[in-house]
């Protein structure tokens, strides 16, 4: 029963991803061609408001719905994993036009090919697990 609220937030997220057009392969192409402000506006607004939200959550020591104070895990600073991993993700993002959230949303639109994109992404994650010890982090 506790999980229903996550399902509802997920429904909302799928609707937002669609109506924002962030799920559009063409919008991602437009972004990487610097031909429109649309995607930059979406991400920029989300980050600025998100920063205000997270700052307020920390300042007010807000508790989550089960009464535990909301905490954040700072990420360990290094360069290779973020830069190289990020670059590989970026290559795939520009090809499929979908990052992980939109992949799932587009399955709901009825695009069968996106199920194959998801399965390939799961395989890619598995592959990372296999070579993880041998690549720089």
């Amino acid at each position: 029963m506790k999980l229903i609220k996550f399902f509802i937030v997920g429904l909302l997220f799928g609707i937002i991803m669609t109506k924002s057009e962030a799920v559009s392969w063409f919008r991602i192409q437009e972004m990487f061609h610097f031909d429109s402000f649309h995607m930059y506006g979406i991400i920029g607004t989300a980050v600025v408001l998100g920063a205000v939200i997270i700052w307020s959550v920390k300042q007010s020591r807000l508790k989550n719905s089960s009464g535990t104070e909301i905490s954040f895990n700072p990420k360990d600073l290094s360069v290779p994993r973020y830069l190289f991993g990020g670059t590989i993700f970026g290559l795939g993002w520009a090809m499929t036009g979908a990052c992980p959230g939109p992949m799932f949303t587009l399955v709901g639109h009825g695009f069968i090919s996106m199920i194959l994109v998801i399965l390939s992404a799961v395989a890619g994650t598995y592959l990372y697990g296999v070579v993880r010890e041998r690549i720089p982090h």
């Binding site: 399902f7 590989i88 639109h109 992404a121």
Partner: protein, 196 residues
């Protein structure tokens, strides 16, 4: 009510969209989760039994079920939005991008008869899935997304939204990487891949 549905069915302004994404991030934090979609790919590996062979997938995935429920909700949200909240025109793409793609043989829908403008049908239509070009886009693209997000420890939601909102330098490095990869693919590799 009809008016509200009509209003929601219009394409949303970027500022509304961005604010709604920030709201989703807050709701997930408030309900005891966090906003990061690509972690689900690792969870799916673990559920599939990958933890028996590889320690990276040997973790208590039951703690992550909320995130899978969230992303299955997103499939439902995509269904609702595409069936009941559809706009009366395809996604409106900048002319420069349309011209550029047309020169590479990819048509951008102008009317709904051509498509909704979410994916290029030349590549992602189900009749095309088994062609070499489509398989490269789908399989290679998916593999790189899965590999890259886990190496970087997050995707657009985990790094670009959650991480940057929390002023995390690692997330900024990751986002720089996203753009290096995206720009190389868009400007140097896609023209070749389209021609296959």
């Amino acid at each position: 009510m009809t008016n509200i549905i009509e209003l929601i069915s219009q394409p949303w302004h970027w500022s509304i969209s961005g604010a709604m994404i920030a709201l989703v991030m807050f709701l997930l934090l408030y309900f005891g989760g966090e906003f990061g979609v690509s972690g689900n790919l690792r969870t799916l590996c673990a559920i599939g039994g990958a933890g028996k062979k590889i320690s990276f997938f040997n973790f208590n995935w039951r703690n992550q079920i909320w995130n899978l429920v969230f992303i299955f909700g997103a499939i439902g949200g995509g269904f609702i939005a595409s069936q009941y909240l559809a706009s009366d025109m395809p996604v409106q793409i900048a002319e420069a991008t349309r011209d550029h793609l047309a020169s590479e043989g990819i048509a951008t829908p102008v009317t709904l008869e051509d498509g909704t403008g979410y994916v290029p049908m030349e590549i992602f239509a189900k009749e095309k899935i088994l062609t070499l070009r489509s398989l490269i886009f789908i399989v290679l693209g998916g593999l790189m997304i899965g590999f890259g997000t886990r190496w970087a420890g997050g995707c657009t939601s985990g790094h670009a939204i959650s991480g940057l909102s929390n002023l995390q330098l690692p997330s900024l490095i990751a986002v720089v990487g996203f753009f290096i990869g995206g720009l190389i693919m868009t400007h140097f590799l896609l023209p070749f891949l389209f021609s296959l």
